[in-house]
């Protein structure tokens, strides 16, 4: 059994050319072992999604190489990449991305068409995942009738159905409230433990840091050593909640000063009447 699930060497991805050239990912190297939960963190626009899509074989790096359990995917032809994705990688997206026309069960079983044995070979596994992710009562429901948390659990089951060695998740809790977000995080952590698979997750949620094995800090496309202090806590001027200035998604400048918010809602409130919230 390979212990190094993923090796990336000198990954670079550029967008555009000339003066409009953007180096979204800049010379990133990393090795991820079986059974690890790895977080990719960093400010917005730092290249996290770009990096993740290269690791999953959805995007070709401009330079560098990627090996997923001993297969060098950067060498492979475009036509074989889909089948690598189907067998080796499970994706979980922020936007859930279920197929609206299919029921929960059909969505979960959908990727099994891509592997040997097909649907019938995976029915037992689907049932087990449905049980485990507490979806039994929604088995025949259509995605549009599900709550956000339920949708993400279906998406997790779908990512796991073919038992891929590598799960890639891009802000899986980004569209969920904190309770459902917490639950999804717990599920992902359990999966790493029980299924011996590897999860690489992009997240802004500082609470996951404690359960993760490694944190990669991305800034301007490159891996950096994170600031010695892990967080820079500031107060949301509207609700007063504690927010990490390094990772915050929602912020704005007002009269030359930078304000950070816990959510867009607070930012909207702030925009309507900033003076109400500024105690200078």
């Amino acid at each position: 059994m390979v212990n190094k699930i993923l090796i990336a060497e000198n990954l670079t991805r550029e967008y555009g050319s000339g003066r409009a050239l953007v180096r979204a990912v800049d010379n990133v190297s990393m090795t991820v072992l079986r059974g690890q939960l790895v977080l990719i963190m960093g400010p917005s626009g730092s290249g996290k999604t770009t990096l993740l899509s290269m690791l999953g074989g959805l995007l070709r790096p401009t330079e560098g190489k990627i090996m997923i359990s001993d297969t060098e995917i950067t060498k492979l032809d475009e036509s074989v990449l889909p089948s690598i994705r189907a067998r080796k990688v499970g994706f979980i997206f922020q936007g859930f991305n279920l197929l609206d026309a299919l029921t929960v069960e059909e969505n979960i079983l959908f990727p099994t068409q891509l592997v040997a044995g097909g649907i019938n070979a995976k029915r037992a596994r689907a049932n087990e995942l449905i049980e485990r992710l507490d979806l039994s009562s929604r088995r025949k429901s259509l995605p549009r009738t599900l709550s956000g948390g339920e949708k993400q659990r279906v998406a997790i089951a779908r990512a796991l159905i073919n038992s891929p060695p590598l799960i890639l998740a891009d802000e899986p809790t980004g569209n969920l409230d904190s309770h459902n977000g917490q639950e999804v995080m717990m599920i992902l952590q359990n999966i790493v433990n029980d299924e011996e698979c590897t999860v690489i997750m992009v997240t802004h949620d500082p609470r996951v840091e404690d359960i993760s094995d490694r944190i990669l800090w991305l800034e301007d496309g490159a891996l950096r050593n994170r600031k010695t202090e892990l967080h820079s806590w500031v107060k949301d001027p509207v609700c007063g909640m504690r927010v990490d200035e390094w990772t915050a998604e929602v912020f704005m400048e007002y009269r030359g000063k930078r304000y950070v918010f816990c959510s867009y809602r607070c930012q909207e409130k702030f925009k309507i009447g900033p003076t109400k919230y500024i105690t200078s």
Partner: protein, 369 residues
Amino acid sequence: MFRWTIKSLVSEPLNFFLTSLVVGIALLLVIFFEAVFHGESQKIIAYPQNINPDVWVMQRGVFNMHMATSFIWDWKKDRVEEVEGVADVTPILYLNSIVEAGSRHWFSFVVGLKQGNKRAGPWSMATGSSHPGKGEAIIPELLGMIANVMLGDTIRIANKTFTIVGFSKDTFSMANSIAFISYADLRDIMSLSGSDSYLLVDAEPGVDPSLLAQRIKENVSKVNALTSAEFIKNDRELALQMGVELIGIMTIVGTCLAVSLVIFMLYMFMEKRRRDIAILKALGFGKFAIISSAIIQAFCITMTGLVTAVILMYTADFLTDAFYPQVSMLITPESLMRVGLVSLLIAVFASLIPICQTMKVDPLLAFQR
């Protein structure tokens, strides 16, 4: 995958229904012009088809009736009667002219009938007499209805006034109606003496019409003789030929419109599925599966559209029969086949669009929130 293909096709039934309906209307354009045109050309040959003698005799160099003029000396009738195998000869006069009724004008076949003729007059009457006397005319029932004239009213044919004594059925067409007047009146209109236009020949039982026609041509000088089947065929060809260009243009316009509509609808339909396609790609579905799925969807939409078009066509046929009887449509199996083939081609052609679309979808779209 097939399950998803079909389910996602009908997951928004309204969208699917509207798409098919628009595609159906587009395809209808292709059938509609053809059907109207075929119906109309069928009407143009109504007279020879219904009168149907064994052999038509006419002036040499004439081959049909529609848009033709034919004169043969009336003594040739006696020569034809003498030919072996001829049972009966009915002479008619015939003129392409204008019927003026109400305040409208209709282009018509005007047929002059001898008193007591057995076979050249109207074959189906709505009301009144089927034998016009002097100063009397029989016109199509529909023409009478549209022009709002009754039995006893007067109309004008070639600038002479006639009293309507009968209404015939099956003799109206937008391009060419049929009016019957007496032989003597038409002879006066045409300033003729001593000639007929056509001779309708009945053969003795057991005599082959084509042999008889041959024999007439050999025995009577300067006439042409054709079996009814040949005569009708010539008339139909001429009628079709006259409309062929128009109908050709209409069919091309209709087809182009149909293709653009189908492409547009498929494009809109597939645009809505871009995210789904991105998900499929991200999950690891290959080109082949995704393209086949797009083709199947395009095909289903076009075929549902075709079925819709055929239903609409028959509905239109029924409605025009009920409300616009002057429009005659003829839906032939061949034209349906042709439209089926055209829509198949459209389906193939139009599915190139969703194929290009699906190929262009970036799987990274799945990462957008």
